[in-house]
Amino acid sequence: MNLAVNNQSLVLALGLVMIALAIGWHEKLGIDRDMIIGVVRAVIQLFVVGYLLKYVFRLNNVWLTAILILIIIFNAGYNAKQRSNGIPRALPISIGAILISTTVTLGVLMLAGAIKFIPSQMIPISGMIASNSMVAIGLCYRNLNAQFKQERQAVLEKLALGADLKDASKEILRDSIKTGMQPTIDSAKTVGIVSLPGMMSGLIFAGVDPVRAIKYQIMVTFMLMSATSIGSVLACYWAYRGFYNERKQLTI
């Protein structure tokens, strides 16, 4: 390891926050309070997580690892639900979609021998998968809401012609699933050209051979594709029925 971040260098790096604060103050952005709260929260949360992870990694207990993964999934589901803007049953839908997308993706990675069921691998990877799935599902919800409003007349006309709910919503579903997956696809297209993503940067930073580091990044790219596609498809297919009532009428 050739990492050289110690407490002293962190305190000096705090000067970077001062630059941001100075800009905010000079330009009267009115966000100094938010910025300070943000920085303090980030420091406290990360320290707590750091010590917690150290403890969990040392304990190396299967059940504790599983519980932590479930907590990550629940939190991600709860956050995705916040983007649902009134879609019925959004919490169970979000948790279900993230649970399945995370489990399937982790399962394939384990079967492939890419990762092992040990906390130091499972927890960070689950977090990456669940958070990407969460963002994708949030985008799906936002698009479903926007599209059902925008395409209301077309949906009504399809229903009036005797289309079932799936046929009446097909274009909206397709568009929403695509929207959920788009950021992952876009970043897959530019990975290595525009950005050196977190996983790869971290490994290189920690002294790992770049050729080895990119293999991990390739794995991450694959796993995020799977997580966001499974999450988006499940969330969209479970959520769209919420826009209709039991008499198969559009309620928006």
């Binding site: 077309a154 009036a160 012609l161």
Partner: protein, 216 residues
């Protein structure tokens, strides 16, 4: 036996009544014209008959059975609703005329579509015409054709001639006449057009959510 019977049908949103005590009987193959001022509840009434809205009180019987006993999708294939200023789907005329077949998992009857297009004054080559290249009158004709590619029993028309020029209006009118007289479809048509009101076989007037006149 009557095809559609409404008994004391009401519709309210929160506490505001939109329709009150509607009693109406419509026989098979009838042509009923509904008139009344804007905001009087005409569209709400026909949307309830089309199962796009649910009444909040009263009874609606279709073909001897209460509307609630039908699967709404199956029902809407028998009672078809055509909108004022319709939206055309997809890119081409074909996408629209094929839609009724797609949703029933049937293969598209292209011959019938061409016959239909020729009947409404378009040609076989218009089947692949972009919907954006159609005029207002052509859009309305295609939309109406879409409703009858596979015949329903009842065709509900919500001011389908509104905004059309005299020529297109006469054309759409003759289409409806053909559906009713030659093919035996029951027609329920909302209109503001005085000529259509004067020519109505059976006229019903609605005001403030109540039936107030005509042949009830």
């Amino acid at each position: 036996m009557s095809l559609i019977t409404l008994k004391n049908v009401g519709y309210r949103v929160d506490q505001t009544p939109i329709l009150t005590d509607i009693n109406l009987t419509i026989d098979a193959r009838e042509w009923v014209t509904i008139a009344g001022p804007s905001g009087s509840g005409k569209s709400t009434l026909v949307r309830i008959i089309a199962s796009l809205l649910s009444k909040t009180s009263g009874e609606l019987v279709f073909d001897g059975q209460p509307i609630e006993s039908y699967d709404p999708i199956v029902y809407r294939r028998r009672v078809s609703y055509s909108f004022q200023q319709p939206t055309l789907f997809g890119n081409t005329v074909r996408d629209n005329l094929a839609f009724p077949y797609q949703i029933r998992q049937l293969s598209f009857d292209e011959e019938r579509a061409i016959t239909g297009l020729e009947y409404v004054g378009l040609t076989a080559s218009d089947l692949d015409k972009a919907v954006n290249d159609l005029s207002g009158g052509q859009r309305q004709r295609v939309a109406l054709l879409r409703n009858v590619m596979i015949y329903p029993e009842v065709l509900i028309l919500d001011e389908v001639t509104a905004g059309l020029d005299a020529e297109n209006k006469a054309f759409v009118w003759s289409m409806i006449q053909h559906f009713n007289q030659d093919d035996g479809l029951t027609i329920i048509a909302i209109t503001h057009d005085q000529e259509e009101i004067d020519a109505a076989k059976r006229l019903i007037t609605i005001e403030d959510g109540r039936l107030v006149g005509g042949s009830l």
